[in-house]
Protein backbone atom coordinates (compact mmCIF):
# COMPACT_ATOMS: atom_id res chain seq x y z
CA UNK A 1 0.00 0.00 0.00
CA UNK A 2 1.34 3.38 -1.03
CA UNK A 3 0.90 5.51 2.10
CA UNK A 4 3.05 8.38 0.76
CA UNK A 5 0.79 8.77 -2.23
CA UNK A 6 -2.29 8.71 0.00
CA UNK A 7 -0.83 11.42 2.21
CA UNK A 8 -0.05 13.48 -0.86
CA UNK A 9 -3.52 13.38 -2.40
CA UNK A 10 -5.78 13.32 0.65
CA UNK A 11 -6.30 17.13 0.76
CA UNK A 12 -8.04 16.84 -2.61
CA UNK A 13 -10.25 14.11 -1.20
CA UNK A 14 -11.16 16.29 1.77
CA UNK A 15 -12.20 19.07 -0.57
CA UNK A 16 -14.24 16.59 -2.60
CA UNK A 17 -15.84 15.23 0.57
CA UNK A 18 -17.03 18.75 1.32
CA UNK A 19 -18.70 18.88 -2.11
CA UNK A 20 -20.35 15.52 -1.35
CA UNK A 21 -21.64 16.89 1.96
CA UNK A 22 -23.05 20.09 0.42
CA UNK A 23 -24.59 18.03 -2.38
CA UNK A 24 -26.15 15.65 0.16
CA UNK A 25 -27.59 18.44 2.29
CA UNK A 26 -29.13 20.28 -0.66
CA UNK A 27 -30.46 17.03 -2.13
CA UNK A 28 -31.95 16.03 1.22
CA UNK A 29 -33.73 19.38 1.57
CA UNK A 30 -35.16 19.18 -1.94
CA UNK A 31 -36.03 15.52 -1.37
CA UNK A 32 -37.94 16.36 1.79
CA UNK A 33 -39.88 19.09 0.00
CA UNK A 34 -40.74 16.77 -2.90
CA UNK A 35 -41.51 13.93 -0.49
CA UNK A 36 -43.88 16.07 1.57
CA UNK A 37 -45.68 17.33 -1.53
CA UNK A 38 -45.76 13.80 -2.94
CA UNK A 39 -47.23 12.37 0.25
CA UNK A 40 -49.78 15.17 0.42
CA UNK A 41 -50.77 14.43 -3.17
CA UNK A 42 -51.02 10.69 -2.55
CA UNK A 43 -53.28 11.27 0.46
CA UNK A 44 -55.32 14.00 -1.18
CA UNK A 45 -59.07 13.73 -1.54
CA UNK A 46 -58.77 14.64 -5.24
CA UNK A 47 -58.36 11.62 -7.49
CA UNK A 48 -56.23 13.54 -9.98
CA UNK A 49 -53.69 14.53 -7.31
CA UNK A 50 -53.63 10.98 -5.98
CA UNK A 51 -52.93 9.70 -9.47
CA UNK A 52 -50.16 12.25 -10.04
CA UNK A 53 -48.57 11.37 -6.72
CA UNK A 54 -48.69 7.65 -7.48
CA UNK A 55 -47.28 8.23 -10.98
CA UNK A 56 -44.43 10.31 -9.56
CA UNK A 57 -43.46 7.57 -7.14
CA UNK A 58 -43.81 4.78 -9.68
CA UNK A 59 -41.83 6.46 -12.47
CA UNK A 60 -39.01 7.86 -10.36
CA UNK A 61 -38.59 4.69 -8.33
CA UNK A 62 -39.03 2.52 -11.40
CA UNK A 63 -36.19 3.93 -13.50
CA UNK A 64 -32.48 4.31 -12.72
CA UNK A 65 -31.47 7.55 -11.01
CA UNK A 66 -28.52 7.73 -13.40
CA UNK A 67 -30.87 7.89 -16.41
CA UNK A 68 -32.99 10.55 -14.70
CA UNK A 69 -29.85 12.57 -14.16
CA UNK A 70 -28.84 12.17 -17.81
CA UNK A 71 -32.28 13.18 -19.06
CA UNK A 72 -32.13 16.34 -16.97
CA UNK A 73 -28.52 17.28 -17.65
CA UNK A 74 -28.04 16.23 -21.28
CA UNK A 75 -31.66 16.26 -22.45
CA UNK A 76 -32.68 19.39 -20.54
CA UNK A 77 -31.23 21.89 -23.04
CA UNK A 78 -33.44 20.38 -25.77
CA UNK A 79 -36.54 21.42 -23.86
CA UNK A 80 -35.08 24.72 -22.69
CA UNK A 81 -33.67 23.71 -19.31
CA UNK A 82 -30.02 24.75 -19.02
CA UNK A 83 -28.37 23.61 -15.80
CA UNK A 84 -24.76 23.24 -14.81
CA UNK A 85 -23.69 19.81 -13.60
CA UNK A 86 -23.98 20.62 -9.90
CA UNK A 87 -27.47 22.09 -10.25
CA UNK A 88 -28.59 19.16 -12.36
CA UNK A 89 -27.16 16.82 -9.72
CA UNK A 90 -29.04 18.44 -6.85
CA UNK A 91 -32.32 18.72 -8.74
CA UNK A 92 -32.13 15.25 -10.32
CA UNK A 93 -31.14 13.45 -7.14
CA UNK A 94 -33.54 15.56 -5.03
CA UNK A 95 -36.56 14.67 -7.17
CA UNK A 96 -35.46 11.03 -7.16
CA UNK A 97 -35.00 10.94 -3.38
CA UNK A 98 -38.37 12.69 -3.02
CA UNK A 99 -40.10 9.70 -4.62
CA UNK A 100 -38.66 7.38 -1.96
CA UNK A 101 -39.42 9.87 0.82
CA UNK A 102 -43.01 10.22 -0.41
CA UNK A 103 -43.59 6.59 0.49
CA UNK A 104 -41.83 6.96 3.85
CA UNK A 105 -43.85 10.01 4.84
CA UNK A 106 -47.10 8.56 3.55
CA UNK A 107 -46.43 5.33 5.43
CA UNK A 108 -45.88 7.21 8.68
CA UNK A 109 -49.08 9.19 8.21
CA UNK A 110 -51.36 6.27 7.43
CA UNK A 111 -49.86 4.34 10.35
CA UNK A 112 -51.61 6.70 12.76
CA UNK A 113 -54.84 5.27 14.10
CA UNK A 114 -57.95 6.52 12.29
CA UNK A 115 -59.61 7.18 15.63
CA UNK A 116 -57.18 10.03 16.24
CA UNK A 117 -58.56 12.02 13.34
CA UNK A 118 -62.14 11.13 14.20
CA UNK A 119 -61.62 12.17 17.80
CA UNK A 120 -60.01 15.44 16.73
CA UNK A 121 -62.88 16.21 14.36
CA UNK A 122 -65.42 15.35 17.06
CA UNK A 123 -63.69 17.82 19.38
CA UNK A 124 -64.35 20.53 16.81
CA UNK A 125 -61.01 20.76 14.99
CA UNK A 126 -61.17 21.38 11.28
CA UNK A 127 -59.74 18.77 8.89
CA UNK A 128 -56.61 20.88 8.40
CA UNK A 129 -56.21 21.44 12.15
CA UNK A 130 -56.63 17.73 12.83
CA UNK A 131 -53.90 16.93 10.32
CA UNK A 132 -51.57 19.67 11.47
CA UNK A 133 -52.04 19.45 15.24
CA UNK A 134 -52.92 15.81 15.86
CA UNK A 135 -51.79 13.53 13.04
CA UNK A 136 -48.50 15.06 11.90
CA UNK A 137 -46.88 15.45 15.34
CA UNK A 138 -47.50 11.75 15.94
CA UNK A 139 -46.37 10.55 12.53
CA UNK A 140 -43.25 12.74 12.69
CA UNK A 141 -42.00 10.37 15.40
CA UNK A 142 -42.48 7.39 13.13
CA UNK A 143 -40.78 9.10 10.21
CA UNK A 144 -37.37 9.82 11.69
CA UNK A 145 -35.86 6.37 11.43
CA UNK A 146 -37.07 5.45 7.91
CA UNK A 147 -36.15 8.92 6.65
CA UNK A 148 -32.70 8.18 8.08
CA UNK A 149 -32.55 5.13 5.80
CA UNK A 150 -33.56 7.34 2.87
CA UNK A 151 -30.81 9.78 3.83
CA UNK A 152 -28.22 7.01 3.95
CA UNK A 153 -29.21 5.90 0.44
CA UNK A 154 -29.22 9.47 -0.78
CA UNK A 155 -25.67 10.12 0.41
CA UNK A 156 -24.44 7.06 -1.49
CA UNK A 157 -26.50 8.08 -4.52
CA UNK A 158 -24.65 11.40 -4.72
CA UNK A 159 -21.80 9.35 -6.23
CA UNK A 160 -23.84 9.22 -9.44
CA UNK A 161 -23.09 12.85 -10.25
CA UNK A 162 -19.52 11.71 -10.92
CA UNK A 163 -20.97 10.53 -14.23
CA UNK A 164 -21.80 14.14 -15.17
CA UNK A 165 -18.37 15.32 -13.96
CA UNK A 166 -19.25 17.00 -10.68
CA UNK A 167 -15.98 16.94 -8.74
CA UNK A 168 -17.17 15.12 -5.62
CA UNK A 169 -15.65 12.13 -3.82
CA UNK A 170 -16.29 9.40 -6.35
CA UNK A 171 -15.25 11.54 -9.30
CA UNK A 172 -12.06 12.49 -7.46
CA UNK A 173 -11.34 8.84 -6.69
CA UNK A 174 -11.99 7.91 -10.29
CA UNK A 175 -9.67 10.63 -11.56
CA UNK A 176 -6.85 9.61 -9.24
CA UNK A 177 -7.32 5.92 -10.04
CA UNK A 178 -6.86 6.90 -13.67
CA UNK A 179 -3.74 8.97 -13.08
CA UNK A 180 -2.01 6.88 -10.39
CA UNK A 181 -3.18 3.32 -11.18
CA UNK A 182 -3.66 2.77 -7.44
CA UNK A 183 -7.32 1.76 -7.25
CA UNK A 184 -7.15 0.26 -3.78
CA UNK A 185 -5.53 3.27 -2.12
CA UNK A 186 -7.93 5.71 -3.76
CA UNK A 187 -10.91 3.54 -2.85
CA UNK A 188 -9.69 3.48 0.72
CA UNK A 189 -9.40 7.27 0.90
CA UNK A 190 -12.82 7.92 -0.60
CA UNK A 191 -14.39 4.98 1.24
CA UNK A 192 -13.23 6.13 4.65
CA UNK A 193 -14.62 9.61 4.01
CA UNK A 194 -17.96 8.22 2.83
CA UNK A 195 -18.16 6.01 5.90
CA UNK A 196 -17.39 8.91 8.20
CA UNK A 197 -20.14 10.98 6.57
CA UNK A 198 -22.60 8.09 6.77
CA UNK A 199 -21.63 7.19 10.33
CA UNK A 200 -22.02 10.75 11.60
CA UNK A 201 -25.35 11.14 9.81
CA UNK A 202 -26.53 7.83 11.23
CA UNK A 203 -25.63 8.93 14.76
CA UNK A 204 -27.43 12.22 14.17
CA UNK A 205 -30.56 10.40 13.03
CA UNK A 206 -30.38 8.03 16.02
CA UNK A 207 -30.04 11.03 18.35
CA UNK A 208 -33.01 12.77 16.76
CA UNK A 209 -35.01 9.56 16.93
CA UNK A 210 -34.36 9.25 20.67
CA UNK A 211 -35.27 12.91 21.11
CA UNK A 212 -38.69 12.59 19.54
CA UNK A 213 -39.73 9.34 21.21
CA UNK A 214 -41.95 9.42 24.26
CA UNK A 215 -40.52 7.25 27.01
Amino acid sequence: MDIDLMLKVYPFFLEAAWVTIVLSVLTAILGLICGTLGAAARLSRFALLRFLGAAYVSVFRGTPALIQLFILYFGGPQIGIQLDAFEAGVIGLGINAGAYMTETIRGAIIAIDKGQREAARTLGLSSWQATYKVILPQSARLMVRPLGVNLNMLIKATALVAAIAVVELTYTAQRYIGSTYKPFEMFLLAGILYMIIIYVTGRGVAWLDRKVQIN
Binding site: I67, I71, G75, I79, A163, L169, G191
Partner: protein, 218 residues
Protein backbone atom coordinates in the same frame (compact mmCIF):
# COMPACT_ATOMS: atom_id res chain seq x y z
CA UNK B 1 -33.23 21.99 -30.94
CA UNK B 2 -36.73 20.59 -30.50
CA UNK B 3 -37.76 17.03 -29.93
CA UNK B 4 -38.01 14.43 -32.67
CA UNK B 5 -39.01 10.96 -31.58
CA UNK B 6 -39.40 9.74 -35.18
CA UNK B 7 -35.65 9.09 -35.25
CA UNK B 8 -35.97 6.26 -32.73
CA UNK B 9 -36.88 3.27 -35.00
CA UNK B 10 -33.67 3.67 -36.99
CA UNK B 11 -31.54 2.92 -33.94
CA UNK B 12 -33.89 0.49 -32.26
CA UNK B 13 -31.66 -2.53 -32.90
CA UNK B 14 -28.77 -1.02 -30.92
CA UNK B 15 -31.09 -0.14 -28.06
CA UNK B 16 -32.70 -3.59 -28.05
CA UNK B 17 -29.27 -5.21 -27.92
CA UNK B 18 -28.61 -3.02 -24.89
CA UNK B 19 -31.87 -4.21 -23.32
CA UNK B 20 -30.69 -7.80 -23.82
CA UNK B 21 -27.42 -7.06 -22.07
CA UNK B 22 -29.16 -5.27 -19.22
CA UNK B 23 -31.46 -8.24 -18.66
CA UNK B 24 -28.56 -10.70 -18.90
CA UNK B 25 -26.37 -8.77 -16.50
CA UNK B 26 -29.24 -8.30 -14.06
CA UNK B 27 -30.08 -12.02 -14.06
CA UNK B 28 -26.44 -13.10 -13.69
CA UNK B 29 -25.76 -10.58 -10.91
CA UNK B 30 -29.03 -11.53 -9.20
CA UNK B 31 -28.04 -15.21 -9.12
CA UNK B 32 -24.59 -14.32 -7.82
CA UNK B 33 -26.08 -12.04 -5.16
CA UNK B 34 -28.49 -14.76 -4.05
CA UNK B 35 -25.92 -17.53 -3.71
CA UNK B 36 -23.38 -15.05 -2.31
CA UNK B 37 -25.96 -13.76 0.14
CA UNK B 38 -26.52 -17.25 1.57
CA UNK B 39 -22.78 -17.92 1.84
CA UNK B 40 -22.12 -14.51 3.42
CA UNK B 41 -24.95 -15.02 5.89
CA UNK B 42 -23.58 -18.39 6.99
CA UNK B 43 -20.08 -16.92 7.39
CA UNK B 44 -21.40 -13.92 9.33
CA UNK B 45 -23.35 -16.17 11.70
CA UNK B 46 -21.36 -19.36 12.06
CA UNK B 47 -17.72 -18.84 11.01
CA UNK B 48 -15.04 -18.73 13.72
CA UNK B 49 -14.45 -15.33 15.30
CA UNK B 50 -11.20 -14.74 13.41
CA UNK B 51 -12.97 -15.04 10.06
CA UNK B 52 -16.27 -13.53 11.14
CA UNK B 53 -15.00 -10.19 12.40
CA UNK B 54 -12.92 -9.12 9.38
CA UNK B 55 -15.78 -10.35 7.24
CA UNK B 56 -18.23 -8.13 9.09
CA UNK B 57 -15.88 -5.21 8.50
CA UNK B 58 -15.89 -5.89 4.76
CA UNK B 59 -19.69 -6.08 4.81
CA UNK B 60 -19.79 -2.79 6.62
CA UNK B 61 -17.53 -1.18 4.02
CA UNK B 62 -19.72 -2.48 1.21
CA UNK B 63 -22.85 -1.05 2.83
CA UNK B 64 -21.24 2.27 3.69
CA UNK B 65 -19.80 3.22 0.31
CA UNK B 66 -21.43 3.92 -3.06
CA UNK B 67 -21.76 1.09 -5.56
CA UNK B 68 -20.17 3.24 -8.26
CA UNK B 69 -17.00 3.56 -6.18
CA UNK B 70 -16.98 -0.20 -5.60
CA UNK B 71 -17.29 -0.82 -9.32
CA UNK B 72 -14.23 1.33 -9.97
CA UNK B 73 -12.32 -0.59 -7.29
CA UNK B 74 -13.26 -3.99 -8.68
CA UNK B 75 -12.74 -3.10 -12.32
CA UNK B 76 -9.41 -1.30 -11.96
CA UNK B 77 -8.29 -3.31 -8.94
CA UNK B 78 -8.58 -6.62 -10.78
CA UNK B 79 -6.60 -5.22 -13.68
CA UNK B 80 -3.92 -4.06 -11.27
CA UNK B 81 -3.43 -7.50 -9.74
CA UNK B 82 -3.16 -8.93 -13.24
CA UNK B 83 -6.68 -10.26 -13.74
CA UNK B 84 -7.90 -8.68 -16.94
CA UNK B 85 -11.60 -9.46 -17.02
CA UNK B 86 -14.01 -8.15 -19.63
CA UNK B 87 -15.89 -5.13 -18.28
CA UNK B 88 -19.20 -6.97 -18.17
CA UNK B 89 -17.76 -9.71 -15.96
CA UNK B 90 -16.34 -7.08 -13.59
CA UNK B 91 -19.76 -5.41 -13.66
CA UNK B 92 -21.57 -8.63 -12.79
CA UNK B 93 -19.10 -9.36 -9.97
CA UNK B 94 -19.42 -5.82 -8.60
CA UNK B 95 -23.21 -5.75 -8.73
CA UNK B 96 -23.46 -9.32 -7.45
CA UNK B 97 -21.18 -8.79 -4.46
CA UNK B 98 -22.77 -5.47 -3.55
CA UNK B 99 -26.25 -6.96 -3.45
CA UNK B 100 -25.01 -10.20 -1.87
CA UNK B 101 -24.12 -8.11 1.17
CA UNK B 102 -27.62 -6.63 1.32
CA UNK B 103 -29.21 -10.06 0.76
CA UNK B 104 -26.96 -11.49 3.46
CA UNK B 105 -28.41 -9.02 5.97
CA UNK B 106 -31.92 -10.24 5.15
CA UNK B 107 -30.95 -13.91 5.20
CA UNK B 108 -29.13 -13.57 8.53
CA UNK B 109 -32.26 -12.15 10.14
CA UNK B 110 -34.34 -14.91 8.58
CA UNK B 111 -31.99 -17.68 9.73
CA UNK B 112 -32.14 -16.33 13.26
CA UNK B 113 -35.93 -16.20 13.00
CA UNK B 114 -36.24 -19.90 12.14
CA UNK B 115 -37.44 -21.67 15.26
CA UNK B 116 -34.59 -23.12 17.34
CA UNK B 117 -36.54 -26.36 17.63
CA UNK B 118 -35.97 -26.96 13.90
CA UNK B 119 -32.22 -27.18 14.39
CA UNK B 120 -32.61 -29.21 17.56
CA UNK B 121 -35.01 -31.65 15.92
CA UNK B 122 -32.71 -32.06 12.92
CA UNK B 123 -29.73 -32.71 15.19
CA UNK B 124 -31.76 -35.21 17.21
CA UNK B 125 -32.62 -37.03 14.02
CA UNK B 126 -28.90 -37.49 13.45
CA UNK B 127 -28.08 -34.73 10.97
CA UNK B 128 -24.76 -32.97 11.39
CA UNK B 129 -24.70 -29.24 12.08
CA UNK B 130 -23.82 -28.39 8.47
CA UNK B 131 -26.44 -30.78 7.13
CA UNK B 132 -29.10 -29.40 9.45
CA UNK B 133 -28.27 -25.88 8.28
CA UNK B 134 -28.23 -26.80 4.62
CA UNK B 135 -31.28 -29.06 4.54
CA UNK B 136 -33.54 -27.74 7.28
CA UNK B 137 -32.78 -24.22 8.44
CA UNK B 138 -31.60 -22.40 5.31
CA UNK B 139 -34.45 -23.59 3.03
CA UNK B 140 -36.96 -22.22 5.54
CA UNK B 141 -35.06 -18.97 5.95
CA UNK B 142 -34.73 -18.44 2.22
CA UNK B 143 -38.47 -18.88 1.73
CA UNK B 144 -39.14 -16.17 4.24
CA UNK B 145 -36.84 -13.66 2.58
CA UNK B 146 -37.93 -14.09 -1.03
CA UNK B 147 -40.24 -11.04 -1.02
CA UNK B 148 -37.68 -8.56 0.40
CA UNK B 149 -34.96 -10.06 -1.81
CA UNK B 150 -37.28 -9.31 -4.72
CA UNK B 151 -37.08 -5.64 -3.77
CA UNK B 152 -33.29 -5.88 -3.77
CA UNK B 153 -33.36 -7.43 -7.24
CA UNK B 154 -35.47 -4.57 -8.56
CA UNK B 155 -32.92 -2.18 -7.06
CA UNK B 156 -30.23 -4.25 -8.77
CA UNK B 157 -31.89 -3.77 -12.17
CA UNK B 158 -31.78 0.00 -11.72
CA UNK B 159 -28.23 -0.03 -10.40
CA UNK B 160 -27.13 -2.11 -13.39
CA UNK B 161 -27.17 1.22 -15.25
CA UNK B 162 -24.01 2.10 -13.33
CA UNK B 163 -21.91 -0.50 -15.13
CA UNK B 164 -22.17 1.71 -18.21
CA UNK B 165 -19.57 3.89 -16.48
CA UNK B 166 -16.96 1.10 -16.65
CA UNK B 167 -17.79 0.53 -20.30
CA UNK B 168 -20.34 -2.29 -20.37
CA UNK B 169 -22.58 -1.87 -23.43
CA UNK B 170 -25.86 -2.36 -21.65
CA UNK B 171 -28.96 -0.23 -22.14
CA UNK B 172 -27.55 3.01 -20.73
CA UNK B 173 -24.29 2.88 -22.66
CA UNK B 174 -26.15 1.83 -25.82
CA UNK B 175 -28.32 4.92 -25.45
CA UNK B 176 -25.18 7.00 -24.96
CA UNK B 177 -23.62 5.53 -28.11
CA UNK B 178 -26.70 6.35 -30.17
CA UNK B 179 -26.76 9.84 -28.68
CA UNK B 180 -23.14 10.23 -29.73
CA UNK B 181 -24.27 9.70 -33.33
CA UNK B 182 -27.57 11.57 -33.28
CA UNK B 183 -27.09 14.32 -30.65
CA UNK B 184 -30.56 13.56 -29.35
CA UNK B 185 -30.05 12.89 -25.61
CA UNK B 186 -33.59 13.63 -24.49
CA UNK B 187 -35.28 11.20 -26.88
CA UNK B 188 -32.94 8.27 -26.29
CA UNK B 189 -32.58 8.61 -22.54
CA UNK B 190 -36.37 8.76 -22.28
CA UNK B 191 -36.50 5.63 -24.43
CA UNK B 192 -33.97 3.91 -22.17
CA UNK B 193 -35.95 4.98 -19.10
CA UNK B 194 -39.09 3.52 -20.68
CA UNK B 195 -37.36 0.17 -21.21
CA UNK B 196 -36.10 0.13 -17.62
CA UNK B 197 -39.58 0.96 -16.43
CA UNK B 198 -41.12 -1.90 -18.41
CA UNK B 199 -38.53 -4.41 -17.15
CA UNK B 200 -39.16 -3.08 -13.66
CA UNK B 201 -42.92 -3.61 -14.03
CA UNK B 202 -42.32 -7.17 -15.27
CA UNK B 203 -40.15 -7.89 -12.24
CA UNK B 204 -42.78 -6.49 -9.89
CA UNK B 205 -45.37 -8.69 -11.56
CA UNK B 206 -43.22 -11.81 -11.12
CA UNK B 207 -42.55 -10.80 -7.54
CA UNK B 208 -46.28 -10.54 -6.79
CA UNK B 209 -46.88 -13.97 -8.37
CA UNK B 210 -44.17 -15.56 -6.26
CA UNK B 211 -45.38 -13.87 -3.10
CA UNK B 212 -48.89 -15.12 -3.73
CA UNK B 213 -47.66 -18.65 -4.31
CA UNK B 214 -45.61 -18.59 -1.11
CA UNK B 215 -48.46 -17.25 0.97
CA UNK B 216 -50.83 -19.89 -0.39
CA UNK B 217 -48.56 -22.84 0.31
CA UNK B 218 -47.88 -21.75 3.85
Amino acid sequence: MGLDFSIIPKYMDIILLGVGWTVGITVAAALLSFVGGIIFAVIALYAPWLIRQPFRLIEWVFMGTPLLLQLFLIYFGLVQIGIDLPAFVAGIIGLGLHFAVYNSELIQTAILAVDKGQMEAARTLGLGRGQALRKVVIPQAVRAVIPPIGNNMIALLKDSALVSVIGVSELTLSAQRVIGKTYRPFEFYILAAAFYYVINLCMEWVQRKIERRISISR
